[in-house]
């Protein structure tokens, strides 16, 4: 367990600090909140899960000899009599980046113990995430109406549907879980739980603004995964 109160430990930057941190026969990540270290480990494992999905998608798409559906047509929208390629996906990307920015500012204001600003920014992040999930639901229902199924679709290679639903569905689940936690944390911030050091539900840990940073790490990771999905699934 990382305990901020390790006697006599002085943090040094660079590789010297890394050697001290890993090689002193004590604990690693000295002075780092254990929740933050564990969130990073979780995100690392999650990276492997999403990598496996994207690599299997690469393998599936690369090994089929039937033409892959053209994403910029499949995900295009027909607005005001014009076909706009990837319109919905572009809006979703901008919404997610906006919410990532508000989250980064929430973390900043959290560390400055600016309770109101932090709370409002987390709420804004939650609403951004909710908008994203809503648009994804719209996209899914549109494609399902057009006949896209995990085993077939009218546009091309039948594998398309299974990869699409699996990858975006898993990402959407992450966003949804994030939105739930964002609303909970917005409530806790407004109530001042992190100023008073009030304990959480499943922990004896005292509330602290570092929890906002941990939540922020998760939310930025969701945005990070979307960057890769956007590049490989929608643009490639």
């Amino acid at each position: 367990m990382s305990d901020p109160k390790i006697e006599g430990y002085v943090f040094k930057p660079g590789f010297k600090g890394m050697a001290d941190d890993t090689g002193s026969d004590q604990t690693m990540f000295k002075g780092v909140h254990w929740g933050k270290a564990m969130m990073w480990i979780f995100l690392l494992s999650d990276t492997f899960i999403f990598s496996c999905f994207l690599i299997s998608y690469m393998k599936g798409r690369g090994s089929t000899i039937i033409d892959w559906p053209n994403p910029s047509e499949v995900f295009g929208l027909h607005v005001f009599g014009v076909d706009v390629p990837l319109l919905l996906i572009a809006i979703m990307t901008f919404v997610l980046i906006t919410s990532s920015g508000t989250m980064a500012l929430a973390v900043k204001y959290g560390y400055e113990k600016n309770r109101k600003m932090c709370g409002w920014l987390i709420l804004a992040t939650a609403i951004g995430g909710l908008t994203f999930v809503g648009m994804q639901a719209f996209e899914w229902s549109k494609l399902i109406h057009e006949g896209v199924r995990p085993w077939e679709n009218p546009f091309g290679a039948p594998q398309f549907g299974s990869f699409f639903f699996m990858i975006t569905g898993f990402h959407g689940t992450h966003v949804s879980i994030g939105v739930i936690f964002l609303f909970i944390y917005a409530y806790k911030t407004f109530k001042g739980h992190y100023d008073e050091g009030k304990r959480g539900w499943f922990t004896t840990m005292k509330g602290d603004y570092v929890e906002i940073e941990i939540l922020g790490l998760y939310w930025h990771f969701v945005d990070l995964v979307w960057v890769f999905i956007f590049a490989f699934f929608y643009l490639w």
Binding site: D21, V32, T93, G101, W236
Partner: protein, 111 residues
Amino acid sequence: MDETKKQEQTTTHKIGIYLWIWGLLFVLSFFSYMVDWYQFQGLLRWSLILIFMFLKAGLIMAFFMHLFWERYALVNVLLWPMTAIACFIFLMVAEFEYTVFTRIFYFVVGG
């Protein structure tokens, strides 16, 4: 103890840096959308997609997730495992090339 306290407090940064990164992310996303808009094809398309993707991912990780200011122990624990993913990608590229080769081969030659 005072030292670690001081260390915790350096995690707050000026608002300008966040706004800059935010703006850059918007611009880069716009550029990657433009790749599709103008229907670039072939190597140009793939390299542009990858460049914008890695720039965006790097900015998010370095500044929004604070990795740029983080201790080396954490940065190394996070980034070295990515080499395993890179190896996996190379393995699977070889695999799908072999699969598509056998498929084409047996469609032409017959089972």
